[in-house]
Amino acid sequence: MRGFALLPTLTIHGAGPGLTVQDLGRPGWKAQGLSSGGAVDRLALFEAAALLGTSPGQAVIEMMGFGGTFHANADTRIALTGAEMQADIDGTPIAPNRTHLLTAGAMLNIGSARAGLFGYLAFAGGIMTAQIMDSRATHLTAGIGKRLEAGEALPFGADPDRSRQAMRIAPEPRFTGGAIRIMRGPQADFFTTETLHSFTQTQFSRSPRGNRQGIKLDYDGNGFPADGGRNIVSDLIVPGDIQMAGDGVPYILLAECQTIGGYPRIGSVIPADLPKIAQAAPGTPLQFGFLTIAEADATALSDQVLLSQLTKMCQTIVRDPNDIADLLGYQLISGATRGDDLERS
């Protein structure tokens, strides 16, 4: 990998506990016991790709709850998508869901999530760590990659189009939980009609317990056990499955779930609503309603269509002089300067 040495690098000066490199994962290994993994909020990768004009398959930094401090040794456009995290470049606040130029040496600080849970830091050239099984996604439970730590440096691809127009996008709202669409799975019949009904009538909230493998749901009242006990044959799992552990306590499985499991599953969250689950911070209210299989199937959207829809939603940023905090720093009239040129040189 000689090319590596030529790539610019991103240095991590500080890192929250939930930073990993992610992309769209490595599908196709379910029979071998490896779940596809990848970004928990896939939509955020498509939003970043639409903003930057890049491929949604490029690797990004996923930040669970809290960001970090970074500097790059080459200019690059970046975007922050997913959870809204407090962020600034050299002290100047930057907004999420917009492209920004991160100049070489500037310090990018990303703090805690103000809304949502999983934030994504995307680079125009993508994070370029080594691929394992055709993906750069860290899969912690499978021992692929590891959490990012302060002091590390990651290669990233040079920005292919640094002068591209700055863009912004209004992201699909997904931080407040609410009504979640689910579909029946192979084990829905293992539950009584009453349990299925009561599941859809219960007001849940996202428990503090959760990670890339799944989240627990809190609720008042009785659990949702399968009819006929716990001895069911382990069977195949897909992300989004809602499994009843122990005495019927629901967990929603996410990108890094196991591939087979013996807990009964009442149904699956449809992929279009999984970003709402991913971004539900602890305490967020969630309620579930069954779609018919035909209705659920009709929500399928190809990656290409999703990207083109999001690309159309992007708007170029026209700078309003009122938005420019440091107006005098811009040389609007030849000869007028901030007056501190000598100090800054």
Binding site: W29, K30, G143, I232, S234, D235, L236, S268, A300, S302
Partner: protein, 243 residues
């Protein structure tokens, strides 16, 4: 007990074909055979065909095909699944050490199965097992089925951790342990075999349906094979892939 296979949705991009709601050798053989057949059929829009103990999930790209088209294509295959034809494609011979320090629970497991430790080792090494499913941890095989008297329960006290390659048993099955997690299965032997090698071009040693035979080796021989990247295992191709 024979039951009709069930066709069920599993996600907006998948169909699960379940051959039984309880684990039987027949249902597992059918699942493995059916997976082979669907893979060989090369159906348009089918992205992934995965099997578990008694079922197969056919994953498809909903933008290229749809549930009904895939269902119609697999229907004739389901009715023609012949469990008796599921000969293994490959046979693995894997050395295992059953000396006391490598097999701390062999005596206990043998007693539960109603045999002596020596008989237990003889039975486990005489039989050719099959990879009936892979899971819990990447590449980790569930091997079965042992004779009925090996239907021993999991222990209620979990073993906190086991060395990689540990041979463990419960409910007529064996596992070559690859997970970093507690387990209720009993540790009855030790292999030097890595079932999962993410950094290599063949990250997973096993495919569902592979045949596996264990060969007892002495503690001295076991020490020697630990340096071998394959832990002394040999793989023989029995028949070629159909595709």
């Amino acid at each position: 007990m024979t039951t009709e296979p069930e066709l069920l949705p599993l996600g907006i991009d998948g169909i699960l074909v379940r051959f039984a709601r309880i684990l039987t050798e027949d249902a597992n053989a059918k699942a493995l055979r059916f997976r082979d057949q669907v893979q060989s059929a090369g159906l348009p829009g089918v992205t992934e065909v995965a099997s578990s103990l008694t079922s197969v999930r056919i994953g498809f790209d909903p933008t290229e095909t749809d549930r009904q088209t895939v269902t119609e294509a697999i229907h004739p295959l389901i009715n023609n699944v012949d469990a008796s034809e599921s000969d293994a494609k490959r046979l693995w011979r894997i050395p295992a050490c059953f000396s006391p320090n490598h097999a701390p629970q062999l005596g206990e497991a043998a007693a539960l199965a109603g045999v002596s430790p020596d008989q237990a080792v003889a039975q486990i090494t005489r039989q050719t097992t099959r990879v009936i499913a892979i899971g819990f941890a990447p590449g980790q095989p569930y091997l079965g089925m042992l004779p009925d008297h090996w239907d021993i329960p999991r222990q209620s006290q979990l073993t906190e951790s086991l060395p990689r390659g540990a041979l463990i048993t419960a409910v007529r099955q064996l596992i070559i342990w690859a997970a970093d997690a507690p387990t209720g299965w009993r540790h009855i032997g030790q292999t030097a075999f890595r079932v999962y090698r993410p950094e290599t071009s063949t990250p997973f040693a096993f495919e569902p349906g592979d045949a596996v035979q264990f060969e007892a080796v002495s503690a001295a021989d076991f020490a020697a094979i630990q340096a071998d990247p394959d832990g002394g295992a040999r793989c023989e191709v029995l028949r070629c892939c159909q595709r």
